[in-house]
């Protein structure tokens, strides 16, 4: 393969940039809000007004504040001499003479008006605020390129120091040095289990084998979680680079990305990214002219949540039914086709290149003693600002919910946050001082998990929240082990019975016993963690359960709408309802 010069590509790319740029978010959130229409309008208008020499429209990734989408960022290089009307500089980012302005909810009309701004006309569009607490309390490590880099153009990533980390390790690092650097950084797996990444890499590296595999788990399935999706759609090359570095360190020449089929845009952008990297010789054979070969292939899931569990994921990659198998043996020793296999989450790989480029000390300087670095959270639910949030680990929950999230919508109060999706638990508002790191949340009976964070307010019934997640686990159970297959159905029934007001104290006891049993005896993480939302709400909101029991005073019952109507209840429930004719 030809030796390619990253610097040359980067400088060519930067030289080709126009002084004024319009960055349109084209990640799934803004696309679903109609970003495509705005993007087309921008291009049309730039052409129509003959601004093609000075204004460039670019499709970029997520700019975090998803609830205000479609988001658009206008970048003006020389603000003093630009005809663009920027008398009001509030909420902008100024860097020397360059200025960045954020716009919310940009549709065709506002897009037209923004472009007309470059001819000196008044801009009629909703201005966003980069100086608001939502942005000011966040950091940029993993999301560094999101909103700046064009995900479908490798040159754009290279211009943002992309693939420098890979180049560096291939030329200046021994295999052990890479693993040592990752270990020193203190990075822990971002998929939920938080296993130290360096140790995992070391284990795979030490297992001698002719063939080894590097797998990226992009089967993100938790309700309310979209951080992996955002990263793949906004900055796919970052993940590829992380995987290639892992491949080099472990002596592997084959990587797989297992991405869920429900993410068609992520699949498409990954495919484009892989093709472009192959073409430049950054992936494939003799990478950067060195003897290192590394190939990455995509595997798409077919809609099973359990395939995010590593043994089920591997079974699925191998073309088998996606059901988990007991560990040990662990994938590090006996993985894909019996070979040592490294499995890491999208976000874990997303950190790798930055650690190599900036050094492990830089990374270890962020976060807490045991949880290093930053974490991307998906803040959703009943808060004012919902979207993607990146903060150093150890940030207190109240900062995320109240400062960044803006607190509850008017008139309501936040009651709890649910972290970690169907495997996690609820943390009551009284405990919001707790720092968000792996160990602190585990102590409270929840988990940090992959990063879902759902805010619940006084209009949510905690029993209903527990029932919602239990229904999810019941529908997603693969059916292999009995406690998960049959236990989740019974827990769900008991929760419904409580919600219907026909349960008694004996039912509550039974519910608790069953939850503990399912947790202790299930085969894989899905079943073992499925009772967590129920157990944690029982721990912190027991009075809500008790108020719904038959024996309780019916006047005190909370009467609130349910998260989902009985018509949408799970498959098994429908089945039984049919047979009973009820």
């Amino acid at each position: 393969m030809l030796k390619i010069d990253l610097e040359e590509i980067a400088s060519k790319e930067i030289a080709a940039r126009k002084p004024n740029r319009i960055h349109c978010c084209t990640a799934a959130g803004c696309l679903s809000a109609g970003a495509e229409e705005g993007f087309e309008q921008f291009q049309k208008e730039v052409d129509r007004l003959g601004l093609t020499d000075t204004v460039q429209v670019a499709k970029v990734g997520c700019m975090r504040l998803c609830c205000q989408g479609p988001l658009v960022k206008v970048q003006i290089a020389d603000s003093t001499n630009s005809p663009f009307p920027i008398e009001d500089k509030h909420g902008t980012i100024q860097n020397n003479n360059q200025i960045e302005i954020l716009f919310h909810q940009v549709h065709a009309e506002s897009a037209k008006s923004i472009v007309a701004g470059f001819t000196g006309q008044k801009v009629e569009a909703v201005r966003g605020d980069f100086q608001s607490p939502f942005f000011q309390n966040q950091v940029s490590v993993i999301l560094d390129n999101s909103g700046n880099v064009e995900p479908e153009r490798i040159e754009s990533y290279i211009a943002a120091k992309g693939y420098k980390g890979l180049y560096q390790v291939l030329h200046h690092f021994s295999l052990d040095e890479v693993i040592h650097e990752i270990t020193r950084s203190g990075l822990r797996g971002r998929g939920g289990a938080a296993y130290p990444t360096g140790i995992k890499w070391g284990t795979v590296a030490k297992n001698k084998s002719e063939k080894k595999y590097v797998v990226c788990n992009a089967d993100e399935g938790d309700p309310g979680a979209f951080m992996n999706r955002s990263l793949l759609e906004s900055d796919p090359h970052r993940v590829l680079e992380g995987m290639a570095i892992a491949g080099y360190a472990l002596g592997s020449s084959q990587g797989y990305i297992y991405v869920r089929g429900e993410y068609p845009l992520a699949v498409q952008r990954l495919q484009i990214a892989i093709t472009q990297a192959n073409r430049l010789g950054i992936l494939g054979t003799r990478i950067f002219g060195t003897p290192f070969d590394f190939r990455i292939d995509l595997r798409t899931g077919a809609g099973a949540f359990v395939c995010g569990e590593e043994t089920a994921l591997m079974a699925s990659i191998m073309g088998q039914r996606g059901t988990p198998t007991p560990r040990p043996p662990y994938p590090a020793e006996h993985g894909l086709w019996g070979m040592p296999t490294l499995l890491n989450n999208v976000e874990t790989y997303g950190n790798i290149a930055a650690i190599i480029r900036n050094g492990s000390d830089w990374f270890a300087g962020m976060g807490t003693q045991t949880s290093k670095g930053t974490k991307v959270f998906c803040l959703t639910g009943n808060v004012v600002n919902t979207g993607l949030v990146e903060v150093p680990l150890g940030t207190p929950i109240h900062k995320i919910v109240y400062d960044i999230g803006g607190g509850a919508v008017e008139g309501n109060t936040i009651k709890a946050v649910q972290t970690g999706g169907p495997s996690g638990g609820c943390i009551p508002a009284e405990m919001f001082d707790v720092p968000v790191d792996y160990d602190s949340l585990a102590k409270l009976g929840s988990i940090l998990g992959s990063g879902g964070m759902i805010a619940l307010d006084n209009t949510n019934r905690m029993v209903d929240v527990a029932r919602f997640f239990m229904q999810f686990c019941m529908d997603e159970s693969c059916g292999k082990c009995i406690p998960c297959r049959a236990g989740t159905v019974q827990i769900h029934r008991l929760l419904r019975k409580i919600l219907a007001g026909s349960a008694d104290h004996a039912d509550l006891d039974r519910l608790e016993q069953l939850c503990v049993m399912v947790k202790d005896t299930s085969l894989c993480g899905l079943g073992q963690s499925a009772p967590n939302p129920t157990l944690s709400t029982l721990k912190y909101f027991r009075s809500e359960y008790e108020s719904l029991l038959k024996e309780s005073d019916s006047t005190q019952r909370i009467n609130l709408p349910l998260l989902c109507s009985s018509a949408q209840m799970g498959n098994q429930e429908q089945l039984s309802a049919e047979t009973k004719g009820s």
């Binding site: 009995i482 019974q490 039974r510 049993m517």
Partner: protein, 238 residues
């Protein structure tokens, strides 16, 4: 091969390194209850009946999968384990449609025997009564999904001993079921050799011989055992 010593229920035993806890216990004459496990087939790890406690480990481990190690201290009959086993059996009864009194396998059923072994006198959980199919399209055998506990013995015996792989599992959660070929009626499954090994392996009355009446079905397990002996140990019954 090296030998390790370990204790099961405070009884010291020796075992070959590489054996599973279940194998080691069996060799020492200690019975660990199982449901999906069948000698000669690969372990499945799905029924969770054989879970044991290992000192120093917070997680319960399936005896059919977990390998023995030197100095391991295993408990198989703690109060917690007994309670969990009972709950698992209750969950199975609540999940399917198991009516012993009208079942072909009455008195010869491993699920029924297990219910008695765990002293299950009633079911604490609601019966789901799911609608399930009966397939009697095969010339000699039938499958009643109402009585199936998804142990996958039929799947494994068909694949590993007969080599036909007629059976597999489709669907998930409570909708999971064993299917013949590509979810066809059993009688139309081309790969089926009609060997009857699935019938021999089935722990309940789910796979039965046509013509059997209530309590008549006895799974001819000894035939399967002699096949396994011949295959694994090269010992032939003539």
């Amino acid at each position: 091969m090296s030998v390790v010593t370990l204790t099961i229920n405070q009884q010291m035993i020796t075992a070959n390194a590489g054996d599973t806890i279940l194998q080691a216990a069996k060799d020492a004459g200690i019975k660990i209850p199982t449901l999906c496990y069948l000698d000669g087939l690969s372990a499945h790890g799905g029924c969770r009946i054989c879970l044991v406690e290992i000192a120093g480990s917070t997680k319960l481990q399936p005896a059919c999968f977990m390998k023995v190690a030197e100095g391991m201290q295993i408990n198989t009959e703690t109060h917690k384990l007994k309670e969990y086993r009972k709950m698992i059996v209750e969950l199975l009864f609540a999940e399917g449609n198991h009516t012993c009194s009208i079942c072909v396998a009455n008195n010869h059923c491993e699920l029924q025997a297990m219910a008695m072994a765990v002293e299950m006198d009633h079911d604490r959980f609601d019966y789901i009564h799911p609608p399930k199919e009966i397939d009697i399209s095969h010339q000699r055998f039938g499958i009643d999904h109402n009585r199936c506990i998804l142990c996958t013995r039929c799947v494994r015996v068909c694949d590993e001993i007969e080599g036909a792989h007629t059976w597999d599992v489709a669907g998930r959660g409570g909708l999971a079921k064993v299917i013949a070929d590509l979810d066809q009626p059993w009688g139309e499954a081309d790969s089926c050799t009609s060997c009857g090994k699935c019938f021999m392996a089935c722990p309940t009355g789910a796979i039965f011989q046509k013509g059997d009446s209530v309590a008549q079905t006895e799974h001819p397990r000894n035939k399967l055992e002699s096949l396994v002996m011949a295959k694994d140990k090269k010992q032939w019954h003539v």
